[in-house]
């Protein structure tokens, strides 16, 4: 895993991926007490950054391997990224999704042409289901984060952040990234280390599912007690990835964790001030910037709004935060 792989992934993604905008609002700066920039990856194809890694991984396969098809397990965003990228390459995709994944993510994955196979998040082992299906059909399993070409694809978002910050005259910033298994955070950390060495990457997670923050503090893999029950479904993972954790340890000094209420409030502010729809798991970084300012040291913060695939009833809960205010 190195910067050259990120450059190669970005080259393959060119003409396909959206260069999502880096937005800001004076109202958000006021709340945060510093300059806040938002990398709007919710505007990426399929509504999340996961399209980057999915396209990168599928485009990196040999034609022979690729034509047999690909397999993924995902709570929904990786599923949609894989589904669209497979369709664009003209190859079949099967996706193993937890039964409690948001409806919109399951429906969209199907609508993008993938076969969806459901499983029980608490009682079944998705890795086991995946392995047997891959063997049976000759499908190539594309891991959601512990896969070098996926990390490389997510890293292309880091290259864009470095470029866009340079265009805005920003040299130094804390870059806060919504973190599940760590694919996006580690890809961005590697890209910044090379192209924006004065920027530092930090993972952000929901309270109670902050395995990466606690693992960084401990220096070794720590697991979450629960495997479900967060509104931040997109970034709930049991423990940091095998490939991603060493990268995170090398580049991130600490991680942040925010409450569910802070997440919903951040979504409401994104609605009000940025005109963006952000899903709970995609709002933890913005929530950190807005409501944990005493834990941040830099004058400028760049947060990744990593996805926008939220069911309308949860979004309505976020809007209710404005009623209360």
């Amino acid at each position: 895993m190195n910067i050259n792989m990120i450059h190669a992934a970005a080259a393959r993604l060119k003409g396909h991926v959206r260069r999502t905008p880096l937005l800001s609002s004076p109202f958000l700066d006021d709340i945060a007490g510093r300059q806040v920039w938002i990398k709007a990856e919710c505007l990426q194809h399929t509504g999340s950054f996961k399209y980057r890694g999915g396209y990168s991984a599928i485009s990196a396969l040999s034609e022979e391997k690729r034509k047999l098809g690909v397999l993924a397990f995902s709570s929904g965003n990786h599923a949609q990224g894989i589904a669209l990228a497979a369709r664009q390459h003209g190859v079949p995709a099967a996706v193993i999704m937890p039964n409690d994944a948001p409806d919109i993510k399951i429906e969209n994955t199907k609508a993008l042409g993938a076969e969806v196979i459901g499983y029980d998040r608490d009682r079944e082992d998705r890795d086991e289901i995946g392995r047997s299906l891959a063997q049976e059909r000759g499908l190539c399993l594309i891991q959601p984060y512990d896969e070098p070409e996926v990390i490389a694809g997510q890293g292309s978002a880091g290259l864009e952040i470095a470029e866009q910050a340079k265009e805005l005259g920003i040299e130094k910033a804390d870059v806060i990234v919504c973190c599940g298994g760590g694919g996006l955070t580690s890809g961005i950390a590697l890209a910044l280390a090379e192209h924006a060495p004065k920027m530092s990457a930090f993972p952000a997670e929901p309270d109670g599912f902050d395995d990466v923050a606690r693992s960084l503090a401990a220096g070794y893999h720590v697991s979450n007690k629960l495997s479900s029950g967060s509104i931040c479904d997109a970034i709930v993972t049991p423990t940091p990835g095998k490939l991603t954790f060493p990268i995170l340890k090398g580049h991130c000094t600490k991680g942040f964790a925010v409450t569910e209420k802070e997440v919903l409030k951040a979504m409401a502010h994104a609605f009000l001030r940025l005109k963006l729809v952000i899903e709970p798991g995609g709002a933890v970084a913005l929530a950190t910037a807005l409501f944990r300012s005493e834990e941040i040291s830099g004058d400028t913060v760049i947060v990744v709004a990593s996805g926008g695939n939220v069911d309308h009833n949860i979004f309505a809960r976020a809007l209710n935060m404005l009623q209360a205010a």
Copy 2:
């Protein structure tokens, strides 16, 4: 009013205005039965295209005139555009707003540093209030659409559409624009006539407030019966502008009108598929593309999502459309 003024406005706006993205979704293409591209002006500074015209007009004033301050009347989006542009130029702004304008627009205009003066939309004459205030304080009145430098600023969105379409290999398209007084539509029409001559601009309005469509059909100025009562508050105007109508007549063969239900459904689809927050008045063009496909002839449609300043209770009504579906 000519293309050179639009080029000059774009040059003044450079480094200030956002080049908003041109987005798409396979799900929206399916509904519309053709390719649909969305120019996301809701992501513009202050949440609408109006910042373009506001900045253009203030930056075009002589320094002597400008330092006395500016005055605007607006239901909210022009107000915010003027307020931010005035603040960026370091000059005072006073804005005359109807008492029934959405709270978010009134609050934001104040928060951006402008003085807000309320009036009764049905009983008072905003032009009269504006004229006397301008005289009293020496303020320069900046009309919301019947002002060449405002039209020129809005036209910069048309230059971007022409550029972005070229980048995507789109040569021919129907460009549908949310239309109130016609500043944005006429600015875009002029820009396209010069830089994308195979594209045609069309205004879109809410049913019952389709003065521009009916005026185009009649060939002369026709007025709306009502002056308020639409959820599309941003684009409710009594009759086409004096400056804008001749431009519209020269470039637009017809206009579209959509129902309130179609507008709310279009907002729901923008939430679901684009991760964009669009206000009712900013959704009439998308609603036309999605639900009036039999009235459209081109294979490719570009719609302008002109603003995103919507109160959360109205947005919740749009989300309820998804519940029903």
